[in-house]
């Protein structure tokens, strides 16, 4: 399922991580206790940060490849 192109693969990876983060966020929003809050901040926040960083890294990587060529 993952693309053979490194840039597209990174975008797919970023997308999958972000979808996981969004699912965690939506489940936590439906929850009401402190555990939901902690999961939102801890797990959701980490997944969001990782997904966005992978996306930004893919942009930097793509730019570096263009410069090499």
């Amino acid at each position: 399922m993952l693309s053979t192109s490194p840039l597209e693969r990174k975008l797919q990876l970023s997308g999958i991580i972000l979808i996981l983060g969004l699912v965690v966020e939506s489940l936590c929003l439906l929850g009401h206790g402190p555990i939901a809050f902690m999961l939102f901040v801890g797990l959701g926040g980490v997944l969001f940060a990782a997904g966005i960083l992978v996306y930004l890294y893919s942009l930097v990587g793509a730019n570096a490849e263009t410069v090499k060529q």
């Binding site: 797919q12 997308g15 969004l22 966020e25 402190p34 939102f40």
Partner: protein
């Protein structure tokens, strides 16, 4: 912001991100790149911001604070049918918003009070789940209750400034305002959350 709208935005974001997961080649066009930026950067940040705001708002609610088993007796003290009980009188007479009763009195009204309250809450969760929580009647404040939190609402109010007891001694109000005489521990408004005597208490049945 209603949770329903945030969930709708999340579903839309998941759909848009899903398009890039299954068809990453569409990023080869300019329009695809711009949409990818929207789907993989802007929308998730928006969802995170709105979700965080909603969660932080919910964390102020009385329901949230009382969702820990250890806090149940403190929730019951809000319904004690006795006007001498400070927390109960404030809660039942809407001197504090009933849905944010705990937060209103237990946040710090200094500049970073809200942030300090959140870190305090994280510490509570740590102690509750990973530490050894004390019995409800042994729970103590981290630091003595500051009059500033009372004066945030009461300062300037006629009932406070001109109350017979408050004005009987001309030195009292300046001392209270300077936090030298505590509203609570000086013996004037000492019954706040009397969890130890809940067994004998009468409770107000009204809804809030």
């Amino acid at each position: 912001m209603p949770i329903f709208l945030i969930l709708l935005l999340i579903v839309f974001s998941i759909f848009l991100i899903g398009v890039f997961v299954f068809r990453p080649q569409i990023t080869s066009t300019r329009g695809g790149k711009m949409t990818a930026f929207l789907a993989l950067f802007a929308l998730p940040l928006l969802c995170l911001g709105m979700g965080t705001s909603s969660e932080l708002e919910h964390a102020k609610s009385t329901e949230f604070c009382l969702s820990c088993h250890i806090m149940e007796p403190y929730g019951k003290t809000l319904r004690v049918d006795d006007p001498q009980h400070l927390a109960a009188a404030h809660f039942q007479n809407h001197r504090v918003p009933a849905n944010e009763a705990c937060y209103t009195c237990h946040t710090n009204y200094a500049m970073f009070g809200g942030i300090k309250a959140k870190f305090g809450g994280l510490r509570h969760i740590y102690v509750y789940y990973l530490g050894t929580p004390p019995a409800p009647e042994n729970i103590k404040l981290y630091e003595p209750y500051n009059n500033r939190e009372c004066l945030h609402c009461h300062a300037g109010a006629r009932s406070f400034e001109e109350g017979a007891v408050h004005t009987a001694d001309p030195d009292l109000l300046p001392a209270v305002k300077a936090n030298k005489t505590s509203c609570i521990s000086s013996g004037c408004h000492g019954v706040v959350h009397d969890v130890a005597s809940l067994k004998d208490a009468k409770f107000w049945k009204g809804s809030n």
